[in-house]
Each structure stands twice: as C-alpha cells, then as structure tokens.
Amino acid sequence: MDHILTILVFFPAFAGLLGFVVDKGSARAYGIAVATIELFIALWLWMSFDGSNGGMQFVEMLPLVPDFGISYYLGVDGISLFIVIMAALMTLVGMISMSIEKDVKNMIISLLFLEMTMVGVFVALDAIVFYLFWELSLVPMLYIIGAWGGPRRVYAAVKFFLYTFLGSLIMLVGMLFLAYLYHDVTGTWSFAITDWYALVLPMEYQVWLFIAFFMGFAIKVPMFPFHTWLPYAHGQAPTIGSVILAAVLLKMGTYGFVRFSLPIFPDASVMMITPIAILSLIMVVYTAMVAYAQKDIKQVIAYSSVSHMGIIMLGVFAMNAEGISGSIFLMLSHGIVSGALFMLVGVIYDRLHTKELDNFGGLAAVMPKYATIFGIMLMASVGLPLTIGFVGEFLVLLGFYKVSPMMTIVAGLTIIIGAIYMLSIYKRTFFGPITHDENKKLKDLNSKEIVSLVPLVMIVIWLGIYPKPVLEPIDNSVKALVSFMEKKAQTQEAKDIIVSTNAGEDK
C-alpha cells in the first residue's frame, strides 16, 4: 500500500460527496458504514506500522507548487498514528450514538468532511497542507454548532470560529516567515516540516516564531486565558459536536506543539518552559475550580477538559521522554474519556432535555447501566490506576517532576480537585433519593447507546491494564524526537536542560 494515507485522508470526504445522492432515510447507515471502513483502514495502518521505528512511515510526497516548495507530503510516526486511529474511532462511535433527527444527511456529510480534515492535520508533513486541513476543520464544526446547536448557537459558533481563526492566522504568518528564513539560508523554498527540522535558527527568530505558532496552538488547546470560547462551544454544540471537539479537535493544538514547536524551536521551547508551565498550572487548578462551580453538567465536563489539557501541555514541555510520551498517551486517553463523558451527558439530555444538575438525583436506581458506565468513565477521568486515564497522567507528572518538583506538586492537585468536581457531579446525578417524579420512569441505556459506549469502556480498561501496544510506538518516536532536540539545541543552557531532564540517577 503506497497510498494508504491518501486513502485514509480522502476516503471519508469522497464518501461524503457521494453521500449527497444517498437517500435521506439511509444516510445514517451510510455514514456508519463509511466510518467503520475508515476505522478499519486506520487499524490496518497500525498493523502495517513498524512500532520499533521512531521515524516517519508511509511517506507520500508529491510536489504541488515546486517554485515555493509546497508539496503534498504525508507521513505518520508513533506520535500521530494513534491520534488518527482515535479520530476515526470517535467519529464512528459518535455517529452510532447520535440521536439527531433533523437533517441527518447534512450532519453525516459534515462529519465525514470533518473526519477528512482531522486525519489530514495529523498526517500532514507539509506546513501548507497542515494549515489547509487545520482551517478547513473549522468549517464543518462551525456548521454543526450553528445548525444543530442550542439557543445561543450562532454566538457560540461565531466565537469559536473567529477566535480560533485569529490564532491560526498568526500561525500562518509564522509559517510564511519560517519558509522565508529557510529560503534565506538554503536558497530554496520549502514548506516541508522535515526540512524545517534541519534549519538552525538564531535564538531571537526562534522566540518570535515560537510565539506566532503558540498563538495558533494555544487558542486551539485552549490554554488559559484563551479558553473562554470552549464552554460556549460545548454549551451550545449538539452532543456529537462536543464529542469530536473534545476528543479530537483540541488535540490539534497540543499535537502542534509536539510536531512544530519542540523540534523546530528547541531553544525557544526550553526557554518557554516556565511561562508555559505557569499557564498550564493555572489551567489545571483554576478551571478545575470553575468546573466545580458549574450548575450544568456539560459545562463541568467542558471545563474539566481544559483542566486535563493543562496536564497534557505540562507533559509536552517536560522535555523528557517520560513526560512527552505520557502527554501523547494522555491525549488519546482524554479523547476517549472526555468523548465518552460528553456522550453520557447526551444520554441524559436526550431523555430530560435539560443539563441542569439540580434536575437529576438518584438516577442510579432507575438507570443502573448508565450509572455503571458513567462511573467507569469518572474513574478514568480522575486517573484511577488500571484505567487509561492513569497512565498518561502518571507519566506526565513523573516526567515534569524532573523539571520542577514544586510545579509538579501544584499540578498534582489535579488528582484531588479532579476528584472533587467529578464525585460531586456523580453524587448530584446518581445518588440520593429521586426528587423529580418524571425521573422515576427514565429508561436505561438503549442498544444504540450501549453499542457506542461499551467499546470505549473496553478500551479504557484494556489500555489501562496493558498500554504497551500503544505506548511503545509512541515512546520510540518520542525518544527520537528528544534526542533530535538535544542535538539541535544551540544554546548550552537548552542542551543542558534537555539532557538533565532526561537523565535518571543511574546514567
């Protein structure tokens, strides 16, 4: 298979185009079929992937605008592989669980286009191709929130779009300037990320470029103080929108830091450890407290996402293999767990048409299956060992401890305050007597919901007990990344920090 990545990227979009002629009644089945095939292609990619090789695999290269060094350039490594699989999985699972009746066909087609852009972002190795997919991903999401959202959907959709678009424009300026610098040094134009890796940049350029890319990535993550678009987007988005947004779209930001910022600007990245870590700590603690104050269950999950993304950011900037691998793993685990949690919120919203915690209470008695699955996801979210949530969180905190013990203790508060808001919503939703009569007749999970949630539960437990098949390829690529950064770093200070954060006592 020479073009497996091309197929993986464009199959959903192609099928989406064909979807316009599919009958309205079977649109949903069609979408699920397409997403299933896509997931199998992604799994096949994993099967053919050489986990012991930390470099880029399945590389495809086709010059598009040779004069400016823009090419259609794709490839995966351990870092992107599993995010792609997770994107395919969450799209499928989200589609299965979807309860939308209005304009289903449009929704399916939007989702398939969205899937193309998501896969595209993670396999692109050319900055322009990356940027195109990055921006294109906004369009279907804008439409999903704007067309199927709640009462303030237009405000939320526009805010989401403009805010993230603004960030990416600044990033685009950075990309163009970087290409220009590349031209300045080598005499040829190139937008290939791998070419940029080889470019040695003076410190002052690194810092400015780092900031430009940072604006694009940080708004996407979203990092404090750029996070306020997210609660609105989640608050107004339909369940499927929130699932994709939390599971995959946010990961584009953190992935961007790993793919661009660390290897291209190693010195600036090392220099920025402290400021970024401070922002991350604010994300972890502050948004977890804000989450606790929420009265709407979906807002709790939304703010908790920001809090967990803070841990992911911290891992990226731990600069050691433990931390970065943990952070990639946490991206996957957060994708699955937060996706599942949003689906679970959707379950109760479909039944009661409210997300206010005060309207729940005592649901464990009438919906035991729902309570059980919610409970498992809750435990994964608070990072219980032997669930998927523990592995990444543990590695990130362990990794960052080497950078700064004090900051790690603050970040470690996540295991306490995360438990506070999660246990609090669980108690208010499921425990106590049933206080609202209409809740006494609630139906437990239906087969559609079970089919979509149970696989996620199985993954949560499987990767909690045996993360190796996923963690090992990630780790191999991360180790390659770390040793590359170490070689490339110019200032002695940056070199020292990279070396010392990676060194255990016994070396």
């Binding site: 804000v290 362990l398 006592e505």
Partner: protein, 633 residues
C-alpha cells in the same frame, strides 16, 4: 509456587466479576456463595504460601509489563515474603468470614449481588496492595481499595442528605466522597514519593530502592520518608486526615469490619513496615520518631472521642483509629514486627467486634444509639459473648490477643526510653477498656430501653454465628499460640527487635501496671453503666463532654475552613473572573473591532470631497509624526 500466588490473587477477582454479571438482577444467593467459596480458595492458597515461605523463603514472580516510557519500566511483579504472607493470611481470613457473614447480613438487601461484587473487588485490590513488589503496584492496590471503599461506603446511595447536629456526615454518598477525596490528598504525597524514588534510583521496585538507600543522601531520604508517610496518613486515617473514617461508618457493617477496621486502614501501617529499610535508616530517625509521636497522639485523641459517643459503630471506629495509632507508635519506634503483630491481632478482634455490632444493628433495625439499647444479652447470648471477648481482647486482658500485642508495644516504648509515649499509651489503654465496656454494658446489660421503642430483637441465624467463630478463636488464642513463631518468622524480613536486658527485668512491673489500668477501666465502666443508663445532665452539658462528642469541632472546622470556602472561591472564580474578566476582555476586543468597523463605515460616503478631507487630515497627521520623530530622534 507461582501458580499459588496467582490463585490467591485472582480468585477474588474472578468472584467479583462473576457477581458483577448479576449486578443488576434481583438477589441471587449464588453470588454470595461463589464469592465466599473463591475467597476460601484464596485463603487456602495464602496459607499454603505462608507455609512455603516459612520453609523456603520468599516467592516472587512477574506477570507482564505494565508501563514503559523513557527509561521507566513498570511491571506487574509480585513477591510473597514473610510480611506479605502474614498480610495475605490476615486479609483472606477476615474477608472469608465477612463474606459468609454478609450472606446473612445482606439477606434482604436488593443490592445483594452488587455488594458481593464490590466486596470481592476490594479483597483483590487489597491483595494487589500487599503482594506487589514495587511502589507502582502498591499504588494500584492503594487506589483500588480506595475506589472499593468509595463504592461500599456509599452502598446505600439512595439515602437522602440529612444534616445532623453532631455528626457532619449527611448521607452515605457524602461520606463516600469525603473518604475518597481525603485519601486523594494523601495520595498526592505518595505520588511525590514515587517520583522521588524513580528519579533517584531509576526503578520503582522495592529491592532496587532498598538496595540504594545506603548511597542516597540524607535530605533525599527524609523527603521520601515524609512523602510516603503522608500517603500512609490518608489510608490509615491519621490526624489531621482522620475525619473520614468515622463518617465511613455510613456503609454496611460488614464493610466497616473488613475495610475500615481489619484491612484497608492498616495499609498505611503496612507501607511503613514494608519500607522499614528506609524508616530505620539513621538519617530519617526524626521522621520515624514523629510517626511514633503522631501515632501516640492519635491513639489518645481517638480514644477520648470514643468515651462519650453514643453511636455503636462510631465508637468502634474511633477505637480502630486509636489502635492504628498504637501500630504507628510501634513502627515509628522501629519495632516493625510488633506493629505487624498488633495489626494482625487487631484485625481479628476488631472485625469480630464490628460483626457483633452488625448483629446488634440487625436485631435493632439499624438503630445505632447505645442509649436506646440495654439488656440485649438475654436475647443475643452469642453476640454478647463474641463482643465481650473482642472487647476484652481490645482492652488487652490476659491471655487474649490484644494483651500480647499491646503490651509489647508498651514495652517497646519503655525500651526506647520514650516515657512520654509509654505514659500516653498506658493512659489510653485505660480509656480503651472504659469505652469498650461502656459500650458492652450499655448494649447488653441493664434495663431494656429498646422496649420503649417497640423493637423485638432476635439473634442472627446460626450459620452467621458459626462463621464468626474463627475470628473469636483467633482473638483468644492468637497471642499465646502464635507470638513467638510470628516473631521468628517475620524476622526473616523485618529487623529483629530485641528488648534490652534491663527492660526484660522490669517488664513484669509494667505488665501489671497496664493490666491494672485496663481492669480499672472495665470496673469503672461497670460501676457507671453495669446497672443501666443513668444520664448525668451536668456531665453532658460540660464543656469537655461537648468538645469530645463534637469530635473537638474538627469536622465543623474543616467544613467552614475548607469545604465552604472552596465552593465560594470556585463560584467567585467562575462568575467574577472567568465570565467577568477573562471572557469579557475577549468580547470587548471583538466589540471594539466591530464598533470601529461600524463607525469607520461612515467614512465610506462615496462623496469625493469627503475623501479629500480625510486624505488631507491623514497627510497632516503623517507630517506631524514624521517631523516629531525627526525632532525627537
């Protein structure tokens, strides 16, 4: 032998999963029987392992890799040495009894199957905790027992939040959350300890860490010792993280017996015993001494709260807290085997005591107030005998288990010349005897106050009483039958603790002193409550009484110092900061752009002379700027 390790470890898990299959269906006796049978198998395997370890030394085995990233490699590795074997036998003995007991106790509960699933899952986690050969595995068990404890404290989740004057716990689900969150505070300390160990030894296995202790610098060792002990303080409910344990009594009584008396709460003591190469290192002497003093303080502090409490289960909970203090005192003074011995003895008699309390509750339709009982010995003879025996053992009366274990701790305090510790523990021994027998007398003898409330108590079915018998037997014989062999056996792993010659010489004096104070405690309780309840308004309205019955106002203090402010600050951050500042700035920028665009649209009039005016103004502005910068620059 590896297969025995796995049988002992996984049999409870199989039972838990099996019971979980029936989790949402109506009561099915098979879940109770199957989980009990599997636990019995686990017990047999544990005993065989113990015998094997006695003869052939430790067994260790590795199941598979767990987490590998960077230079870190964590495996599911298990080792059964003397300490682990003792813990396994204690855990499986008590669990098996509690499982069989629960078949009777939970008979009418509609969550019967679910209960057994949780209970067996707990045993599995506890076994992981004691059997792992590394700190990460320990942490799995550590968190696992935490979750099972959460599930089981909140087992009757449907109960309403009702605020009470004295006890802050308002419902089982509230108590469950409190326990989980408070434990998590301590777990952060534990995690930090784990990180320190990894970054300084490159591994998380006990062996590597213990082997590298001699080469590590003193400050580091102190940091690790403190961090790990913070973890231990949460699980073993040491002050100031103790409030959750009494509130955990909201759970079903078999849970209190197994988790909140015999096993889980001793995990912290186990950790200190397990990490004895660290805690006995001279660099961490200060930390160990602190552990001993804290333990002594908690022993006395908890005993005082038990003196006035009226709640049958809370009295036993405070007593557990107090006995955990004794264990920490012993461990902190370096007498690890004594701590472990008291841990085992305490597990037996305290579980027995709790199960007896369960019988009483069952008979009294969940009434917990001992002021409303009395005279129950007539209808519940066996329960009376069991609870009496357990209380005698707890009070440390010869020749019961508690006499040997507790007395040795007091001897250790003498031997170490820590007279303050000895004195406090000695006084506490008197308090213990008093509150134990206050409870026994108020429950079982005197006037039958329950009759006014219309209760018709009855004894538990015979098989439940028989199931309790092993614990009763152990509570009686454990001390004089097993103490010497226990010491010899555990000395293969733990540092042998020998009393000095001088201590030996005068030990009998202290034994008599201790027995005297215990007997006077019992006697005083008899004098005051033997004939029935005579309430003394003056005492009950005194400051000290109120202070004690309100648990030194600590729960209320926590509520007003931490819980409420946390909620208020969270609320403030959301409403004042996130919405009014962070988000408002974003919207203000957007509004400004919109506004400026909207206003500057007025320039686009299409009128050429207007454009000329604007152009002239612009040129003028540029000219001013240029000339200014020329002048200034």
């Amino acid at each position: 032998m590896e297969s025995l390790v796995y049988v002992a470890l996984f049999a409870p898990l199989v039972g838990s999963l099996f019971a979980a299959l029936f989790g949402m269906s109506p009561k099915n006796l098979i879940t109770g029987i199957a989980t009990s049978a599997l636990l019995f198998i686990s017990w047999v395997a544990s005993v065989l392992l113990l015998i094997h370890v006695v003869g052939n030394g430790a067994v260790s085995t590795t199941l598979m890799d767990w987490i590998g990233a960077g230079d870190l490699l964590i495996q599911f590795g298990f080792q059964v040495d003397a300490v682990t074997a003792v813990m396994m036998v204690v855990v499986t003995t008590v669990s098996t009894v509690v499982h069989v007991y629960s078949i009777g106790y939970m008979d009418h509960d509609k969550g019967f199957n679910r209960f057994f699933s949780y209970l067996s899952a707990f045993v599995f986690s506890m076994l992981v905790l004691v059997m792992s050969d590394n700190f990460a595995g320990l942490f799995i068990g550590w968190e696992g027992v935490g979750v099972c404890s959460w599930l089981l404290i909140g087992f009757w989740y449907h109960k309403e939040d009702v605020s009470t004057d004295i006890n802050p716990s308002i419902s089982p689900s509230w108590a469950a959350n409190e326990a989980f969150i408070m434990n998590r505070i301590a777990d952060l300390g534990m995690l930090i300890g784990i990180f320190l160990i990894y970054w300084n030894t490159g591994s998380l296995t006990y062996d590597t860490f213990f082997a590298s202790i001699p080469t590590m610098d003193a400050q580091l060792l102190v940091a690790i010792a403190v961090a790990l002990f913070i973890g231990a303080m949460g699980k073993s409910a040491q002050f100031p993280l103790h409030t959750w344990l009494a509130d955990a009594m909201e759970g079903p009584t078999p849970v209190s017996a197994l988790i909140h008396a015999a096993t889980m709460v001793t995990a912290g003591v186990y950790l200190v015993i397990r990490a004895n190469p660290l805690y006995s290192h001279e660099a961490v002497e200060g930390v160990s001494l602190f552990i001993a003093y804290l333990g002594t303080f908690v022993a006395m502090f908890a005993a005082t709260m038990a003196l006035v409490n009226r709640d049958l289960k809370r009295i036993i909970a405070y007593s557990t807290l107090s006995q955990l203090g004794y264990m920490f005192a012993a461990a902190g003074l370096g007498a690890y085997w004594v701590a472990l011995f008291h841990l085992a003895a305490h597990a037996f008699f305290k579980a027995l005591l709790f199960l007896g309390a369960g019988n009483v509750m069952h008979a009294m339709h969940d009434e917990l107030d001992i002021f409303k009982m009395g005279g129950l010995s007539k209808v519940m003879k066996w329960t009376y005998i069991y609870m009496g025996l357990a209380s005698l053992a707890l009070a440390g009366i010869f020749p019961l288990a508690g006499f040997y274990s507790k007395d040795t701790i007091l001897e250790v305090a003498i031997n170490e010349d820590t007279y303050l510790i000895w004195f406090a523990l000695w006084v506490t021994a008197g308090l213990t005897a008093f509150y134990s027998f206050r409870q026994v007398f108020l429950t079982f003898s005197g006037n039958e106050r329950y009759k006014e409330l219309g209760h018709r108590p009855h004894e538990m079915p015979n098989y439940v009483l028989i199931a309790m018998a092993p614990l009763a037997i152990l509570a009686v014989i454990f001390g004089f039958v097993f103490m010497d062999s226990f010491q010899a056996f555990t000395s293969t792993v733990l540092p042998a603790y020998e009393m000095s010659h001088a201590t030996h010489e005068i030990a009998w004096v202290f034994i008599i002193l201790t027995t005297l104070i215990a007997l006077s405690g019992i006697f005083y309780a008899y004098k005051k409550y033997g004939a029935g309840l005579i309430r003394d308004e003056k005492v009950e309205s005194s400051f000290v009484y109120k202070l004690l019955s309100n648990q030194y106002y600590i729960p209320k203090f926590y509520d007003s110092m931490f819980t409420k402010p946390y909620r208020e600050i969270s609320d403030m951050l959301w409403k004042r900061v996130d919405l009014k500042i962070v988000d408002a700035i974003v919207d203000a920028i957007a509004k400004f752009i919109y506004f400026s665009g909207d206003k500057s649209r007025a320039m686009q009039t299409g009128n050429l002379s207007h454009y000329l005016n604007w152009m002239a103004a612009g040129v003028l502005l540029v000219a001013v700027i240029v000339s200014l910068s020329a002048v200034l620059g």
